[in-house]
Point group: C2
Chain length 200, copies 2
């Protein structure tokens, strides 16, 4: 069996969104399992002393342009949300709740959250909005709200953040093939090449 792919992402990360649209195809091509792992980029930035992209003047100016260009290149719809970046605890906890039932459904939910945020600009900070998106995936609204508020999924998300920090996950998206780390949407081609060649 080939090494699995672990796909770390923050629900508020534009490049995470772009990667979420491509990662499963790469997994399928190489017959790899893909494990989706939403985490909180803020927890990593704190360790790194980094500020959000939008606060880094020159970098944001470039990135805003580059995200649009990259979305065009890969034919992914994209619009900068009015609220950006946002805290993504609600979506992350809901994801792990769904993931325990059905990992494929959790991926479908994650893509829906990304699309609603990065195409329609929905405020995904809101627990209600997140639970409505879960309901669109035929999950129970009230149960989703309970899960978002539960210590169980608070702790689950914190654990993934800790894991991310421990494994030097320094941005979103961040991909592992086995132990091999790849940071950024622009490394997906390298991930593909790594899987194709077995590494170098």
């Amino acid at each position: 069996m080939p090494d699995p792919i672990e796909f770390f992402f923050d629900f508020s990360s534009p490049y995470g969104y772009l990667a979420a649209n491509r990662i499963e195809r790469i997994g399928q091509k190489h017959d790899c399992d893909v494990f989706w792992k939403p985490f909180l980029l803020g927890a990593v930035f704190k360790i790194n002393g980094q500020s959000p992209l939008i606060e880094q003047t020159l970098k944001w100016s470039y990135s805003r342009y580059d995200i649009e260009r990259t979305a065009r290149r890969y034919k992914v719809e994209w619009a900068l949300p009015e609220f950006f970046p946002v805290a993504t605890q609600a979506a992350g906890r809901a994801f792990y709740w769904i993931n325990e039932k059905d990992p494929d459904l959790a991926k479908k939910f994650a893509l829906l959250v990304y699309q609603k945020y990065f195409i329609e600009g929905l405020d995904i900070r809101s627990k209600n909005i997140v639970a409505e998106l879960a309901a669109e995936c035929r999950l129970d609204f009230d149960e989703c709200i309970l899960s978002i508020n539960s210590n169980l999924y608070k702790e689950k998300l914190k654990l993934v953040n800790k894991e991310a920090i421990k494994r030097n996950v320094c941005g979103s998206p961040f991909i592992f093939v086995g132990d091999e780390p790849f940071w950024g949407h622009d490394r997906l081609n390298m991930v593909d090449e790594w899987l194709q060649t077995g590494g170098w």
Copy 2:
């Protein structure tokens, strides 16, 4: 005539070094002029409130690994210098002095500086070392020292820094194809694709 390529880089930037080994081949492939433009990354970081890579714990840990892996992939020799990062005023000013005489020789000099720094670990902060490398390119040692100390080339380098900031150059390497901006060694494939397809 196709748009020219402008190649902004800092002499202390590992990814700039990796790109310097590949950029001319991309230019040749598409019949583009390539203009090399060393600048001071520190001047950009000041505007962005960014700290050097090496001070960002998780990011540096990843990048150090990634630079080695990328160097292996492209068969470029690489070793982390003892002094890193370093101020690159001397090399930058010497570059622009040579560039006025002979842009191809200036590129050869720039590659030599990069190699001596990133393979042999030479302290390229030193004016003497930089002038010795110019002398290896059959330029006059004393004249090089005079140029490094001159207001003319101090100002020239400052002008390029200002241009870099004005054009949102937010890291090294940073490449323009006409006005189209590309940040990072890992975007060279996109530069290639952009030139191949005429953009999207």
